[in-house]
Amino acid sequence: MDILNAGVALLNFVVVPAAAYGAQLALGALGVTLIYGILRFSNFAFGDTMAMGTAFTIMVTWAIQALGIAIFPLPTALIALPFGIAVTALIVLFTDRIVYRFYRRKKVDPIVMVMASVGVMFVMNGLTRVLIGVEEIRFDDGARFLFSVQDFRAWSGLTEGLSLRVSQLLTLIITALVCWGLFVFLNRTRTGKAMRAYSDNEDLALLSGIDPDQVVRITWIIGTALAVIAGTLYGLDKTFKAFNYFQILLPIFAAAIVGGLGNPLGAVVGGFVVAFSEVAITYPWKKVAGYLFPDWQPEGLLQLLSTEYKFAVSFVILIVVLLFKPTGLFRGKSV
């Protein structure tokens, strides 16, 4: 039994990738859940907001690269990110003004808002296609590894290697900072509390003199910022492809629902629950088992589900939560 090597293999193939992916999902789920809490509808255009924001970030990245500016070993996209967020937030605020506000004032059924978000999704999808095309784009120009498998093997002398990519570490650090900032904002600042109050009890919030337009505006800005950050980190970690951002919508929704729609803390937990389940279920455990039980020679790869079905994992988690706890894990808890 070789616990050290098994542990390293587990870290390298499951824990690190799942943590990075979980952080990306958590940011996305935070955006979805905030928009849901304040505006009270599931925003189907969220995936395409991510894609469009990332597209803007990539274009600004190219412009910065053309100027010859770089912050190696960090990717240039980090400088471009604030510009990407700003442009996308302006577009989203404009969308709210010409699309959603009308339905909000009419107090329509949430499903009509969902329908409107489908229209917005089409427009944003088309915009992204026109802007940047449908091909795969790599835009990570930073250092690739903090330490690679070879470095680790040489350092530790183990057979198994462990690598940590810069994009993964960056994802974790940025996610931690963003979550911390967001929770401080929601729990400590006047505006953040006003947002929570509005989400909790709209009528009473109005009675208390909270300006609904301001709350909605700030929600869109924060939601968009989260979308663009999550999208850019996802694109740095993997590659940018517009359609992938539509597909990631399902795990993001699953994460938000698992945590309890409208609950920010739940969204973060939900993101990691979904990511770890997805990676653990689609990972071939043969290698880890080989270290732990050298005498056992299993026939297959010990993979519960092939990676093509990773979306099925989010779906099953979603179904389980809907069946047993439709309000999610964290309903009723404080932020």
Binding site: K193, A197, S199, N201, L204, G332
Partner: protein, 236 residues
């Protein structure tokens, strides 16, 4: 002396086309407790909502400290010194007690820590639970938080829509005691109550509303002594 602090006179209006209120008049003097009672569907809550501007009036006017506020929105009326505690959904359940009170003071630009201390002094039970979520409190304590929230704007007139609905008799007595205390500080109170007898006992002024019209108006004591009121509205 001049006109009463709040004077809502000749109010007519309702939701949609039908009028619920018909020539209804409610006045409250400074530091007075006024109670609106009446049978179900008499328009008690509607009258209060009309005073607070949540209902469009077709006739009549609402004056506060002599100023005509008939055209103002509820939010603007809060700025003018009105506080309102709705019957249900009157707290932010997922926020702490303290945050609930802070939200009450949202429109205040000055330092409100003094008011906060006063509210805690008035309701020691919720002061102990200031870090707890308001949604986790008992029914009576929630009502205290709700009243406290409304007090945070330092209103001159506090309006309560059935504050004792669904709480036990002991909690009700306690709540009424607090309301008397609030009134002693010079705040006028306008209250709609289902528990007519107990409410009239603490009322300086009582309005018996029937079908949106004033039927009897007198001091609480006098109404309690009035045999006809007792027979028809207080169950003997």
């Amino acid at each position: 002396m001049s006109a009463p602090y709040l004077s809502a006179t000749g109010m007519r209006g309702g939701y949609g086309k039908a009028d619920i209120l018909n020539d209804c008049t409610i006045t409250v003097d400074q530091g007075q407790i006024a109670v609106i009672v009446g049978p179900n569907g008499a328009g008690k809550s509607t009258a209060m909502k009309a005073v607070f501007g949540m209902l469009n009036l077709r006739e009549g006017e609402v004056r506060l400290a002599g100023e005509d506020i008939t055209a103002l929105t509820p939010q603007q009326r809060v700025h003018k010194g009105m506080g309102f505690v709705p019957q249900t959904h009157n707290i932010f359940p997922n926020m702490t007690v303290e945050e609930n009170l802070q939200m009450g003071a949202f429109i205040r630009k000055d330092d409100y820590s003094g008011t906060l201390a006063q509210v805690y002094e008035l309701f020691p039970a919720v002061a102990d639970k200031r870090r707890q979520n308001a949604g986790e409190l008992s029914g009576g304590q929630r009502q205290q938080v709700a009243v406290g929230r409304a007090l945070m704007t330092q209103p001159r007139l506090l309006m309560l829509d059935e504050p004792t609905a669904g709480v036990s008799p002991i909690v009700m007595d306690e709540l009424f005691d607090r309301i008397i205390e609030i009134a002693r500080t010079g705040i006028s109170i306008l209250m709609v109550e289902q528990n007519a007898r107990q409410a009239l006992e603490i009322a300086d002024l009582g309005y018996v509303l029937v079908q949106g019209t004033n039927r009897y108006t007198d001091t609480g004591e006098a109404l309690l002594a009035n045999p006809e009121v007792r027979r028809t509205f207080l169950g003997g």
